[in-house]
Every structure is written in C-alpha cells, then in structure tokens.
C-alpha cells in the first residue's frame, strides 16, 4: 500500500466518526425512511472514498460530503417520482379549495398568517410541525417539492428529468402549496397558545 491509500482510508474513518450521524439525520429528514437514509449515507461515503483523491484539502470535508449526499437525495426523489408518475394527476383534488368556477370556497378563504415572523424559522416546535406537514403531502408531491428547493436547476430542466410537462409540474407544486398551507393552518397558525 502506498501512503496515499493509507491516508485516504484513515480520513474516511475520521469522516465517518465525525459526520455520519449528521448525514444520516439529514437523509432521514429528506426521505422519512430509515433504510433509505442508511443507504444514502453509505452511498455517500462510498462515493467519497472513490473520489477522495479529488477532494482538495482546501474545502471543508463536511460541505463536500453534504453536497454528495444532496445529489443522492435529489436522485432518489427523481427515481421515486418517475415510478409514481402514472398516477400523477389522480390523487388529491382541488374541490375542497375551489368551487367549479375556480373561486375560493368560503370555508377555505386564505387569510394572512398574522402571527408569523422570522424567528419562527428557528423555533424547533414549528419546524416539527412544518416537517409533519411536508411529509403529509402525497409522496409524489413531496418529491416534486423537494426537487424544487434542493436543486440549482431550472424548472424546465427538472421537468425534463422528471419526464413531465411544465404545466403538470406547476399543478403539482400548486396543489402541494395549497395543502401545505392548510395543514400549517390547522397545526400551527390557528392553534391557541402558540
């Protein structure tokens, strides 16, 4: 064994002990599935081990590992989305939000969230509620929403990758937003004692 290989191996060991839990926690957060999160974490380290020679000491290994993991998370959602694409427009209908003329229903009129402020984003109870609401979305919508926020790609590129038309993509994001809003309303904004 030459020196390079030895030092790469030891750095993987160190990275596992320093970052594996953080990577795993994030993967679980983004997929809600422990087995998937374990696989994605393993794949990340495997890719890192293969590419360790490309890793330059001048960037932070944690940042580097997270960027590998985020790509893997995006791939996971892409695959999942493609698999479920068949039932794309069937689930979730809009009729609870809009009437047949496309007007808001009286019982679902949007009102501004008065008790919203930026500090809320750092409130862990709120983040739990948000997480629950995101994961309450139909899986397909959750995947599409994740892709929107976790990739630098343009909408048109995401549509190409997902193999759907742009208008389908807006529809999914639109429905996700309506549902997410309604869930947050119920579980946070209209609850007393917040």
């Amino acid at each position: 064994m030459d020196n390079d290989v030895i030092s790469e191996t030891t750095s993987i060991e160190r990275w596992v002990s320093d970052y594996a839990d953080d990577l795993y926690s994030w993967a679980f957060y983004k997929t809600s599935n422990k087995e998937v999160a374990e696989d994605l974490t393993q794949d990340t380290f495997l890719a890192a081990a293969k590419g360790a020679s490309k890793f330059k000491g001048d960037s932070n290994p944690k940042t580097w590992l997270f960027s590998i993991l985020n790509n893997k998370i995006a791939d996971y959602h892409k695959k999942k989305f493609k698999k479920m694409n068949a039932g794309i427009m069937e689930d979730g209908d809009q009729s609870s939000f809009f009437n047949e003329k496309g007007e808001w229903r009286e019982n679902n009129l949007p009102s501004i969230w008065e008790n919203y402020d930026e500090h809320l984003l750092d409130n862990s109870m709120f983040n739990d509620a948000l997480k629950q609401c995101l994961h309450a979305l139909p899986e397909l919508w959750f995947s599409a929403t994740t892709m929107k926020y976790h990739s630098q790609k343009k909408g048109s590129e995401i549509c190409q990758e997902l193999g759907i038309s742009e208008s389908n993509y807006w529809q999914i994001l639109h429905r996700s937003k309506l549902q997410l809003r309604s869930c947050l309303n119920t579980n946070w904004f209209t609850k007393e004692n917040k």
Partner: protein, 80 residues
C-alpha cells in the same frame, strides 16, 4: 378574459420558478388588484418558500447511525 382564483394561484406558484409571459403577468396583476384572497395567498406562499428553504441539516432532528453500519461503511470503503 379574467383569471379565476384557481388559475391565478397556479401562476403565483409558476412565477416562483420561471418568468411568466407578458399576457400572464398582466392577467395576474389585474386579478391581484381586485382579489384580496389571492393576495393573501401569495404572501403566505412566499412565507412557505422561506420556511422550506430554511430547513437545513442543523434544523433536522439528530439521529445516530448504528455502529454496525458505520463499520460496514469503513470496511466497504477500504475495498475502493
């Protein structure tokens, strides 16, 4: 031709990802000028974008990967 609230809110979402056509922009502006409900929705929709973007590894619940899998990772990466 004016937009329904349903169509207007689709455009609100679309606008966060891509540029609307001139026609869409005019229709949406006209709709929002007279529809407070959709205006409210737009404000909340932007808040939701902020909320989701704010989710980072530091806000995720901390979990521990089992020692067995950690060892497996180390063993497998030695084979690379």
């Amino acid at each position: 031709m004016s937009l329904s609230c349903e169509k207007a809110t689709v455009l609100i979402e679309k606008q966060t990802i891509t540029r609307l056509s001139l026609g869409e922009r005019i229709k949406l502006r006209m709709h929002l000028n007279k529809c407070q409900d959709c205006k409210n929705f737009k404000i909340d929709s932007e808040k939701m974008d902020q909320m989701i973007k704010h989710q980072t590894p530091s806000t995720a619940q901390k979990l521990e990967l089992s020692a067995k899998i950690k060892q497996q990772i180390i063993d497998n990466s030695k084979g690379e």
